[in-house]
Every structure is written in structure tokens, then in C-alpha cells.
């Protein structure tokens, strides 16, 4: 007997098949230490502090007063990060000594930040606070202290990839000092005779103009890298920080980003004629679209050319593509690493792997890739195990290749409109 007639139970969901959190961030900035006192635990340069909310930073002594008193923007970046990403998001903070340049901070503390976080960081924001009396030298339209940090930042990504904890880095592109036409093309940076393919490095030159206006000196030409970092932490690896529908970076209630500017401390309205150049050259900044309120990032470019080769392989040209690649690499490693040193049979007539074992390993790789496909983070993925891998002699390596098709982004919609007498 049942008086309900139709009984419907809620299905249960098992434990997550993946504990890989893909929005964990790090913030690397230079600034003075904070001496511990009552209610303040203090900050030691070079130490990594895990945060999940703004109050965690305040407990360390990183407050608005810290920023104001020291003419730095550490609290600013943290509050912007949490305004966009939401409280609860993990942020590992490392404050390098105040006298360190951006390049020095990256080279001397970047690896430490990743290691201390046990490799779980996906994105690192790098902020730079010039010392008092700072007089900038400009190179290729940006401060030389920023320009010289691009290659070391990519080197840090390279190291993170080689050590199986790949990250994307967002640099504070402070001190823009050039018109769009004369700006460095970040999609085509040369270092000597070589091209710098900074596939996982992005340069943020956008700033909340009203906030910067209240600052003095070098502070006015800062860039809101914390806002960019928080925006990325809010969304999936493959999604663009420039999504128009969902990622308005302005907040009327918090009086943030009500007027967008660039790091030359000019509003985007003043720089309107140059924005297309900066966009085409791979800079990231906040901008307004006609017909919609608020501000959005212009896109998610990286400092690398857009290349498609004869075999159909494409270069990493967006943050989304790079982060998708990073996540796929982490998932594949997690899936396949347990199989290292495992015992497998070989075909006694060839000494090679039997087809069934080849398919088994391909299935394992595909499981990892399919988890991203099912989450709409990839369009497709394929694992190919080389059946001629020699496991009885030589280096006994199982040769595997992975091909992934990323999701695409609609950069623009192009249409034509005409009047007609009839339809």
C-alpha cells in the first residue's frame, strides 16, 4: 500500500572520480614583511601562506593600511582575487623582499611557491611594487622591469611542466607607456635571434582607473593582475576570461572597476583609438562593449604566436588552451603513473605488447581525457599507444601519444544586415 502512488527517490552521487581542483592560484608579489603582534601573525618574506578568504590575509597583517603605508598593492590584489573568484578559493601567497624586481621574484621565489603548494597551483599572478623613488626605464613600451620578466616567467612555466605541476602565469603589465601602434607585439617577441614562445604567460595592462587615481607616483600605473587571476579562478580551464555574458568585472556595490583604464593611467575612453592594437598584440585589459553595461576582459591571449602546422597541430595561443593542456597532462599523469613498473605480458612471437594490452593502456588514457570531454573542457581526445614499444630491452619505455582537440571560443560574430522590400 502506498498513498504516494508514484515514488521517486533522489539518486546518490558517489565520491568524485577526480580530486583535481583546477582553480587553485598563487600570488607572488614583492613587499615588506609584517611583524607579528597581537592578533596579527605577521609575514616573513619568502614564506608561502595559504589563504581561502580575505580575512586570512588580514590575519597575517596584509590589510588596506599595509598597502597604503608601504605604497604597495598586495591587499588590493587579494581583495580583487576574492571579489571575482569567491571566498573559499585557495590562494597561496608569497611576498618576496621589497627590493626584488619582478624578474628576481620569479626566478628566486617562483619555484618555491609551486613546491610549497605541493604542485597544486594552476595559475600564478605576479605583481610588482616598485620601491620608493622608482624611476622607470621603458623598453618596447612597457617598464623594463616587466619586459625583462617575460622570458623568466616562461622559463618558470617550463620548469613547472618538466616537473609535472604545470602553471599559467599572469604578469602585472604595469607602466604602459606607448600608443598601440608602437606597442610590442606580444604575439611575436624576439629575444636575440629566437622568438619567445611564452605559451603560458599573459600580460595584464588593465586597471580600475578610479582606484589608481587615488594613488600617487608609481602606484598610478599599476595593473589589476589580481582581478584577472580571480576571474580565471572562477571559471573552467578552457573558458575565456573575456566571456561577455557571464564575466562582468565591474561591481557597483563594491565600487570596483566602474571606470576601466590602462596601466598608463588613462581611461579606455581616452585610449579608445589604441585598444584594437593592444588587443591584436596580445595584451589583456578591461573594456566596455556598446550596448551592455560593465566591463569585460578583452580576451585571454598569451605571449605567443598563433600557429597551425601542416599536420593540423596548433600552438597554444590562449590561456584556455594552455590551461586545458596543463590539466590534461596532470590527469593523464595521475591515471598512468600507477602503471609504471607494472608487469605486462608480451606476445611470445614478437616480443611486443599484445593488442589487448595496447588497448588497455589506450583506454586508461582515454578515460582521463574523456573526463575533460564530459566536463565540456575538451572537444575530444585520443590516446595512441605505440604497439612496437620495446619493453624487454633498451629503456623499456611504453611510447604513448595524446591528441586533444580543445574547445573553441567565439572571438567575434561577423554579419551583414540589409533592408529589403520583402522576405
Amino acid at each position: 500500500m502506498s498513498i504516494r502512488g508514484f515514488e521517486l527517490s533522489k539518486g546518490t552521487v558517489g565520491a568524485s572520480t577526480s580530486d583535481l581542483q583546477d582553480n587553485i592560484c598563487g600570488l607572488l608579489a614583492n613587499g615588506p614583511e609584517v611583524v607579528a603582534s597581537e592578533g596579527i601573525s605577521g609575514v616573513v618574506n619568502g614564506t608561502v601562506y595559504p589563504l581561502t578568504k580575505v580575512k586570512d590575509a588580514e590575519a597575517l597583517g596584509i590589510t588596506e593600511a599595509y598597502d597604503t603605508d608601504n605604497d604597495v598593492r598586495v591587499y588590493r590584489h587579494i581583495t580583487e582575487f576574492y571579489r571575482m573568484a569567491g571566498e573559499g578559493t585557495k590562494l597561496f601567497l608569497l611576498i618576496a623582499p621589497a627590493d626584488k624586481t619582478m624578474k628576481e621574484a620569479i626566478e628566486e621565489y617562483g619555484q618555491a611557491l609551486i613546491i610549497a603548494a605541493k604542485g597544486i597551483i594552476f595559475y600564478i599572478g605576479v605583481a610588482y611594487n616598485p620601491a620608493a623613488g622608482y624611476v622607470a626605464t621603458y623598453l618596447d613600451g612597457i617598464e623594463e622591469d616587466v619586459r625583462e620578466a617575460l622570458a623568466p616567467a616562461q622559463a618558470l612555466h617550463g620548469w613547472s611542466w618538466d616537473t609535472d605541476r604545470p602553471v599559467n602565469l599572469f604578469l602585472e603589465g604595469r607602466g604602459l607607456n606607448v600608443a598601440g601602434a608602437a606597442a610590442l607585439d606580444l604575439r611575436n617577441i624576439t629575444e636575440g635571434a629566437a622568438t619567445l614562445n611564452a605559451t603560458h604567460i599573459s600580460l595584464c595592462i588593465g586597471q580600475d582607473w578610479d582606484y589608481a587615481e587615488a594613488l600617487v607616483g608609481a602606484g598610478r600605473t599599476f595593473a589589476d593582475v589580481g582581478t584577472l587571476l580571480g576571474t580565471k579562478a572562477l571559471i573552467g580551464v578552457n573558458r575565456s576570461v573575456g566571456e561577455v555574458e557571464s564575466l562582468d568585472i565591474s561591481s557597483a556595490t563594491k565600487s570596483r572597476w566602474l571606470k576601466a583604464g590602462l596601466s598608463n593611467h588613462k581611461t579606455t575612453e581616452e585610449m579608445d583609438a589604441d585598444l584594437a592594437d593592444f588587443d591584436a598584440k596580445g595584451y589583456i585589459f578591461g573594456m566596455a562593449y556598446t550596448g551592455i553595461s560593465g566591463y569585460r576582459w578583452n580576451g585571454d591571449p598569451v605571449c605567443s604566436p598563433i600557429v597551425v602546422d601542416d599536420n593540423g597541430y596548433i600552438s597554444v595561443s590562449t590561456i584556455g588552451q594552455g590551461a586545458s593542456l596543463n590539466k590534461a597532462a596532470r590527469l593523464l599523469r595521475k591515471k598512468l603513473l600507477p602503471k609504471v613498473k607494472s608487469t605486462v605480458p608480451v606476445d611470445s612471437s614478437t616480443g611486443l605488447l599484445p593488442t589487448g594490452v595496447v588497448k588497455y593502456f589506450e583506454g586508461l588514457g582515454n578515460e582521463a581525457l574523456n573526463s575533460m570531454v564530459n566536463a565540456a573542457e575538451l572537444s575530444d581526445g585520443k590516446t595512441i599507444v605505440d604497439p612496437s614499444s620495446q619493453l624487454l630491452s633498451g629503456d623499456k619505455a611504453l611510447n604513448v601519444s595524446f591528441e586533444i582537440v580543445p574547445t573553441a571560443t567565439i572571438e567575434k560574430i561577423r554579419g551583414t544586415i540589409n533592408l529589403k522590400t520583402t522576405l
Partner: protein, 91 residues
């Protein structure tokens, strides 16, 4: 040191006069030029280039094209070679 400054300095010494209070500033200008050249050398080394371009605002570029685009007149762009900077840095 400019030609004019050099001749004034030489004339003052030749007449047996004591140096004017302005004299040390000439040495300061040399030191400033040397420091500038050293900075330019550092930039060239860091960015692996043998030539730098400086516009009238004192901003550097690794590309002549970008330097020209930052100016209304190409003549305002100064070309600094590695050899020039090395020589000036030693002066």
C-alpha cells in the same frame, strides 16, 4: 662633455684661474652619461640585442620600427649600438 664645455674648462685652466663652482657639474654629466651607457649595455645583454633605439622621450625599443612609430619624426630616434654603449660606459 660638450665641445663648448671643454673649451671653457681649458680656457679657465690655461689662465691659471681656479675652477668655477660649475666645474664639478661637468664631471657629473660624464658620470651620468657613463651610467646611462651602462644601463643600455645591461638592457642589450638582458634582451640579447646588439642595437637599441631611443626616442626623444628617452624610451628604449629593441625594434627600430616600433621606435619610429613612437615618434612623429624618424630623425628623433637615436640608434645605440653595442660598440657605442661599451665605449661610452668605459669613458
Amino acid at each position: 662633455m660638450t665641445t663648448e664645455a671643454k673649451s671653457k674648462d681649458a680656457a679657465a685652466q690655461g689662465a691659471g684661474e681656479t675652477k668655477t663652482p660649475n666645474a664639478p657639474k661637468i664631471g657629473g654629466a660624464d658620470a651620468k652619461a657613463s651610467a646611462k651607457a651602462k644601463r643600455e649595455l645591461e638592457i642589450m645583454t638582458r634582451h640579447k640585442v646588439k642595437t637599441l633605439y631611443r626616442n626623444s622621450k628617452g624610451e628604449y625599443f629593441t625594434s627600430e620600427n616600433l621606435a619610429n612609430l613612437s615618434e612623429s619624426k624618424k630623425e628623433n630616434v637615436e640608434t645605440i649600438t653595442l660598440a657605442d654603449a661599451t665605449k661610452a660606459a668605459k669613458a
